[in-house]
């Protein structure tokens, strides 16, 4: 721990749509330490997936990285050419996507797909790759892996496909795994299986994880640090405990109080909801994007975009928010 593995600075990504620009990611800066788990939380369209896809240059043709650097092992991922980034994808950085059905090739055997990265990155023989694939499938808890490597994806259930995806991501012993809503398509009991598996693998292999989700409670037990995104910006970043015990940004406060499970302990009848809906990303932001929905907003919020700054009195804790209002003072008054 402590050594910085990935350092992203002022990343901006735009989409071109019908002649207009969509500001999907508006200057995002964050870092991931070696062996650390970072939870990225936000609603759909807040730019959490686009940020991670930008890092690996996996964006669709309509998107374009406007500026920013992403140092991974001191090399800038954004500036890499195709051959260099190919070495990183699947080699140093593994990726797990939301929908395991569409990510696996339906006409290739599971064993071939899991071993493929090894043949490409490590130049091993087919036999070695297959033996390693069996080992990996056993590692992710697939019963009878010697037989199952010969199966096709449609013979696997949703949970097993996601396990196979994890095995693929782990194949080349990466330093970092990016998991983009890996359990959203799964049932709760299967989600619990996958979360426990990832926790166990992380502790044994010491791999760093970026876990993207819209469910704050899911990352409560999983992440070391949490980053909350809204409208293409990071609005709050802190240690997991600090996010839940001492949330500072009005959006994080709103998200937490909108969780029925979080409120259940307090026995409230009405949930606190965030009024309105997420903003349109077609305009370049000139004010804080949360202003129309924010109960704490004052004049300054309408004319300036807040930047991510350490909170007052907590400079050493790594707790940063992008907000002009001190919500803690407000809450104390109320």
């Amino acid at each position: 721990m402590g050594e910085i593995l990935l350092d992203v600075n002022d990343l901006k990504t735009r989409f071109r749509s019908r002649g207009k620009l969509i500001h999907a990611v508006n200057g995002v800066s964050f870092h991931v330490n070696r062996g650390e788990t970072l939870g990225v939380v936000g609603e759909s369209g807040c730019g959490k997936s686009v940020t991670m896809l930008s890092l690996l240059q996996l964006l669709p043709p309509a998107a374009q990285i406007e500026s920013g650097t992403a140092l991974f092992n001191r090399q800038d991922l954004i500036k890499m050419n195709f051959r260099q980034i190919q070495k990183v994808r699947g080699g140093k950085v593994g990726m797990i996507f939301q929908d395991p059905m569409t990510c696996l090739n339906p006409v290739l055997k599971i064993g071939d797909q899991v071993g493929e990265a090894l043949i490409y990155h490590r130049r091993v023989t087919k036999e070695v790759a297959l033996a390693r694939a069996i080992e990996l499938l056993r590692l992710v808890g697939i019963p009878d892996p010697e037989q199952r490597v010969k199966d096709y994806p449609h013979q696997f259930s949703g949970g097993m496909r996601q396990r196979a995806m994890i095995a693929m991501a782990l194949a080349c012993e990466p330093d970092l795994i990016i998991a983009d809503e890996p359990t959203t398509a799964l049932d709760v009991t299967i989600q619990a299986q996958i979360v426990e598996l990832v926790k166990d693998l992380r502790d044994r292999l010491g791999v760093a994880i970026i876990w993207i989700t819209h469910d704050l409670s899911l990352v409560a037990g999983l992440a070391d640090r949490i980053m909350v995104m809204y409208a293409g910006l990071i609005v709050e970043e802190a240690k997991t405990e600090d996010i839940f015990d001492d949330p500072r940004h009005p959006y994080t406060l709103g998200l937490l109080s909108a969780l029925p499970a979080f409120q259940a302990e307090k026995k409230v009848r009405r949930l606190a909801s965030i009024p309105g809906s997420p903003p349109d990303l077609r305009a370049q932001p000139i004010s804080c994007p949360f202003v129309p929905r924010c109960p704490f907003a004052f004049e300054r919020c309408h004319s300036e975009v807040p930047v991510l700054m350490p909170i007052k009195g907590g400079e050493g804790s790594g707790h940063r928010i992008a907000c002009f209002a001190d919500t803690r003072e407000w809450r104390a008054k109320a």
């Binding site: 609603e43 759909s44 259930s157 949703g158 949970g159 097993m160 049932d187 709760v188 009991t189 299967i190 989600q191 619990a192 299986q193 979360v195 426990e196 819209h214 469910d215 704050l216 409670s217 899911l218 409560a220 037990g221 997991t240 405990e241 839940f244 709103g254 998200l255 937490l256 909108a258 969780l259 029925p260 499970a261 979080f262 409120q263 259940a264 009848r269 009405r270 949930l271 606190a272 909801s273 965030i274 009024p275 809906s277 997420p278």
Partner: protein
């Protein structure tokens, strides 16, 4: 809840099988046991939650209750009137009293109809208002769900997901129903919007004394909104009881595993608590395991569980359980 009065809705041994064809050319016939002898009652003004994993038959149970597809066997009563014995024509007057809200607000609204027309249609079809006066009723409905009267002439694509779900709720209210099946009404919405819709549904329930069957896979939402909860597994009911009983002291091993699988939004609890993680997957509903459907994944199953279907019986504290071990 007032258990001495007659229930508003009663399902007795509800069964729904779907015939399917398997194999590359559809040469094999098989039966999906979607709902298998499910019984429950819902009283006026209460909310019954129905939870379970995908494919456990919770939506099918809701649809069968409304006669959206006819149950294979079993009876559904609305105020002691057997809906399964009625023809489509005879059912029509009851249709306005029992309504549904679907999961996906995008595909349930006709893209070519204005919001006003979509809301007026069921009112006119049931002759609850004349053509001249129907718009005042539509505007009342829109105000009820927190939309302004300006929306009347707009089309569904102009609205966000949360607003569309409000419109769907308004439409289900159009015929002044008593009972609404809510089939995962908030699953397709963003977290911050979900809370708005839950609050709206609770307000409307109070205002019009509605009765809900709330189908969901999100247990924390069910815990918030429901009075009683039924847990389903592979077409059968596993446990049903008052919300406090089920969440504080689950008896059925599946209920326990399901509750344990839900993440708690508290890092201090979450990092130390021991989870009971179920192994394996939900078996196929085409060939469900014999005896208790849950026995291949159950941590306490024995020989009896493999052979004998557990009886659906009432416990001393009023809850219903189907398990040999409790």
């Amino acid at each position: 809840m007032n258990t001495n009065t007659q229930p508003l809705i009663r399902a007795v041994n509800l069964v729904k099988y779907f015939p399917v064809r398997l194999g590359a050319y559809g040469e094999k016939k098989a039966i999906v046991h979607a709902v298998d002898k499910v019984s429950f009652e819902i009283h006026q003004g209460e909310t019954l939650g129905l939870v379970g994993e995908s494919g456990c038959g919770k939506s099918t149970a809701g649809y069968s209750l409304l006669q959206l597809h006819r149950p294979t066997s079993g009876k559904c009563y609305y105020r002691e009137i057997d809906l399964t014995a009625l023809s489509e024509k005879e059912l029509r007057p009851y249709r306005q009293k029992i309504q549904i809200i679907f999961q996906d607000p995008y595909s349930t609204l006709n893209p070519r109809m204005t919001i006003g027309a979509a809301l007026a249609e069921p009112i006119l079809a049931h002759k609850l208002a004349a053509k001249e006066t129907v718009m005042t009723r539509v505007i009342t409905l829109l105000n009820d769900v927190g939309l302004t009267e300006k929306t009347v002439n707009r089309y569904p694509h102009e609205f966000s997901g949360g607003q569309r779900q409000r419109i769907c709720i308004a439409r289900s209210l159009a015929c002044e129903p008593e009972f609404i099946v809510c089939d995962e009404p908030i699953s397709a919405l963003d977290v911050s919007i979900q809370a708005q819709i839950i609050n709206l549904m609770q307000d409307l329930q109070e205002k019009y004394s509605l009765t809900y069957l709330f189908i969901a896979h999100d247990l924390s939402v069910v815990k918030h909104i429901c009075n009683r909860v039924g847990v389903m597994y592979l077409g059968r009911m596993a446990e049903m009881g008052e919300k406090e009983q089920i969440f504080a002291e689950p008896k059925h091993p599946y209920t326990r595993a399901l509750l344990s699988a839900v993440p708690v939004p508290n890092p201090h609890i979450e990092k130390t608590r021991k989870r009971q993680v179920l192994g394996g997957d939900v078996p196929s509903a085409i060939e469900p395991p014999g005896g208790c459907h849950f026995h291949p994944r159950c941590p306490i199953a024995d020989e009896k569980c493999k052979a004998v279907v557990p009886e659906w019986r009432q416990m001393g504290d009023g809850r219903w359980v189907a398990c040999h071990k409790v």
